[in-house]
């Protein structure tokens, strides 16, 4: 296992060199985060479909339990139970629009991971950096449990557990646990845990900071210990359910699935779940005793339990919905945690937007009116009043607004329309509007995927390392 250790040491050194200006040492955070034995235990797997270009290259890597789809190159890296989902990469001759530019893509885009350590991380979407449109790079980067690197090229960064960087190029940054950043481009920033920051320069700027004493109950990460808190406990409690889906070669769906919907064979479906048409359930999603209406989706690492989603609902990567009823066209952002109780449910009115990284955790019934934007931590009616605004009122803001720990500057109208456009795009991409012939999306294209597995050296100096592998059509 010596070679594997060398790869890890090299990655830690490279990340530390990049973060030297911030004075941040990743070593105490990372050294014992994944036991070396675990890295040998799990196979990696990749998908083959007629819809996605196939080109995988793995060199000097460990890929334990990780999943790959689309074009991807991994070098000198450790990927532990991560999903590298390249089904939204740009294709040759696509047109990328940026400001006044219309840029033609000259070859199929590829995810390029080098000198990085990704733990239970999701990599998805496509590079939004106009300077690197054909390469979605992740370099000298360490990301920890349930982080999302979404359309965000990264160089020299460290992401804490449940952190999300979305549509943002980042260089030499530390992103604290449970922080969400969507800011176009960031450099040399140390972002505290529980920061929610959505910025479109000169258009709008939304910022919220979790009070650390309240956030620590849900996620807490310090040097020398693995991530702790309710989020981790919640996921660990349901870990065993995934064991079977990874152990069995041929999985048949346990419930009827309409032909226009897709239920990934690496998802967990518990009894009394109903799937409607044009529904997408991604790998590592967990659905129990719930109803998913037409066009709804549950993305990677989502948990939907004892809940009803009326239709066209987006449950973004890592979101959890427990004991809740969601009206049509609701959006629940990345890693949000919505937890009602059997007799004290959460009701979310239609077309409401639950911001990424929002916690709604109630012990009494809570009703969120339709067309509302909700952020931060909500445990009762008073919190809801402080941490929400109607989308109509938000649209009227033209300069400044602040409420509790939330600060907003710019055009509320542009902020709302940016969210609405993105929700529409996600639904389209996921095939929510498939008519039977037109508007195919992931729900239809991901139905027929073949999976192959690959494994590392079982013993010796190279134990844990995967051989150099090239997979092409």
């Amino acid at each position: 296992m010596k070679e594997l250790e060398k790869v890890l040491d090299r990655i830690i050194q490279r990340v530390n060199i990049n973060l030297r200006e911030l004075g941040y040492d990743v070593k105490p955070f990372v050294s014992n985060l994944v036991a070396p034995g675990q890295m040998v235990k799990f196979y990696a797997f990749y998908g083959i479909t007629p819809h996605h270009p196939l080109n995988f290259q793995f060199k000097r890597t460990n890929l334990a339990g990780s999943y790959f789809l689309g074009k991807c190159q991994v070098t000198n890296s450790l990927l532990y139970k991560s999903d590298i989902r390249g089904d939204e990469l740009k294709k040759k001759d696509d047109i990328f629009r940026f400001q006044d530019f219309e840029i033609q893509i000259h070859k199929d885009e590829e995810i390029d991971i080098e000198d990085s350590f990704l733990i239970k991380t999701l990599v998805h979407n496509y590079s939004h950096d106009p300077e690197t449109l054909e390469k979605f790079f992740i370099k000298d980067t360490i990301s920890t449990h349930y982080a999302n690197i979404h359309g965000s090229p990264s160089d020299g960064c460290f992401l804490g557990p449940f952190a999300t960087v979305d549509l943002t190029t980042m260089r030499d940054c530390v992103i604290g646990a449970y922080s969400y950043v969507q800011a176009g481009e960031i450099n040399h920033l140390h972002i505290d845990p529980g920061t929610v920051w959505v910025r479109s320069p000169d258009v709008f700027n939304f910022f919220y900071q979790y009070p650390s004493d309240k956030l620590n109950k849900y996620i807490y990460f310090q040097a020398g210990s693995p991530p702790q808190g309710l989020f981790i406990d919640f996921v660990e409690d349901r870990k065993e359910a995934f064991q079977r889906v990874f152990d069995v070669v041929n999985m048949e769906p346990s419930i009827p699935v309409p032909k226009n919907s897709s239920l990934d064979r690496f998802s967990v479906i518990k009894p009394h779940t109903q799937i409607s048409e044009n529904v997408l359930v991604a790998q590592r999603a967990y659905i129990q005793n719930s109803f998913l209406g037409k066009g709804a989706n549950a993305q990677e690492n989502c948990y939907i339990i004892n809940s009803k989603l009326e239709g066209y609902n987006i449950t973004a990567h890592g979101a959890k919905i427990i004991e809740a009823d969601l009206g049509k066209n609701t959006f629940v952002g990345f890693n949000s945690f919505l937890r009602g109780m059997p007799d004290n449910r959460i009701a979310i009115g239609k077309e409401s937007v639950i911001m990424p990284h929002t916690i709604i955790d109630v012990k009494k019934p809570l009703s969120i009116p339709e067309g509302r934007l909700v952020w931060g931590i909500v445990t009762n009616e008073e919190d809801l009043e402080e941490n929400s605004i109607s989308l109509n009122d938000l649209s009227k803001i033209v300069s400044y607004y602040s409420k509790g720990n939330m600060y907003f500057e710019g055009s509320g109208k542009r902020f709302v329309s940016a969210f609405k456009d993105r929700i529409q795009h996600i639904l389209e991409a996921n095939g929510a509007f498939f008519s039977g012939e037109q508007k195919k999306g992931h729900a239809q294209k991901n139905q027929n995927i073949s999976f192959n597995t690959i494994q590392p050296y079982p013993l010796g100096e190279l134990e844990g390392l995967y051989p150099t592998i090239m997979i092409r059509p």
Binding site: A183, L189, D192, W197, R199, P201, N205, F207, Q209, Y400, S402, N405, Y407, E409
Partner: protein
């Protein structure tokens, strides 16, 4: 232009306002006032106070701006506003927030009394690598350092010791004076 070197224009350390580490803001202001009184007799107008450690080494500088920051009213909300200023919000918005969340219950008297008791280490500016210049350095080189910082002054060294301060205002005055001399000479020759 005359071929100035840094020590031609620097204020000698012995004539500059200084306080030992551990001094309060009020003591720093008093030291500045004392230096100003001496200014009546010398050519130097003092705008900052240097903080010295026990070995008389410069460990920081308290500028007029640092004093203004020290007397800003502080509460949890204003601290948060300081934190968010790095996230791309505009200056008018930050100013608006500071005004909006300024504590109402603090009188100017209390505020100044409290600030006056704070140790200088809390708000002094520690010199960065680019703020040192050797005493025999040509003025042109020192100007690059002032502009690049940008810095209002540089600490002048001789070997391991700090021997003076090169201030932007003195450099500007020297340049202006030389410029004026050149123009006057040119006009005189044309006439």
């Amino acid at each position: 232009m005359e071929n100035f070197i840094v020590k031609d224009l620097m204020v000698p350390l012995s004539e500059y306002a200084t306080v030992p580490e551990g001094s309060t803001l009020f003591e720093a202001i008093m030291a500045l006032e004392k230096a100003q009184e001496q200014f009546q007799m010398t050519q130097y107008h003092h705008r900052a106070v240097l903080v010295l450690d026990k070995q008389n080494r410069v460990i920081g500088k308290v500028s007029q701006l640092n004093v203004l920051l020290a007397i800003e009213p502080q509460n949890e909300q204003t601290k948060k506003i300081n934190d968010i200023s790095k996230f791309g919000f505009s200056d008018p918005f930050i100013t608006y927030l500071k005004k909006h969340y300024r504590p109402d219950d603090v009188s100017i008297e209390d505020l100044y009394m409290k600030a006056g008791k704070r140790p200088v280490e809390e708000f002094m500016q520690k010199p960065s690598a680019g703020e040192y210049v050797e005493e025999n350095t040509p003025l042109e080189t020192a100007i690059y350092q002032l502009v690049l910082g940008p810095h209002l002054s540089l600490l002048v060294t001789s070997g391991d010791d700090i021997v003076g301060i090169l201030r932007l205002s003195d450099v500007f005055a020297a340049i202006f004076h030389t410029m004026k001399q050149i123009q006057t000479k040119k006009l005189h020759n044309q006439g």
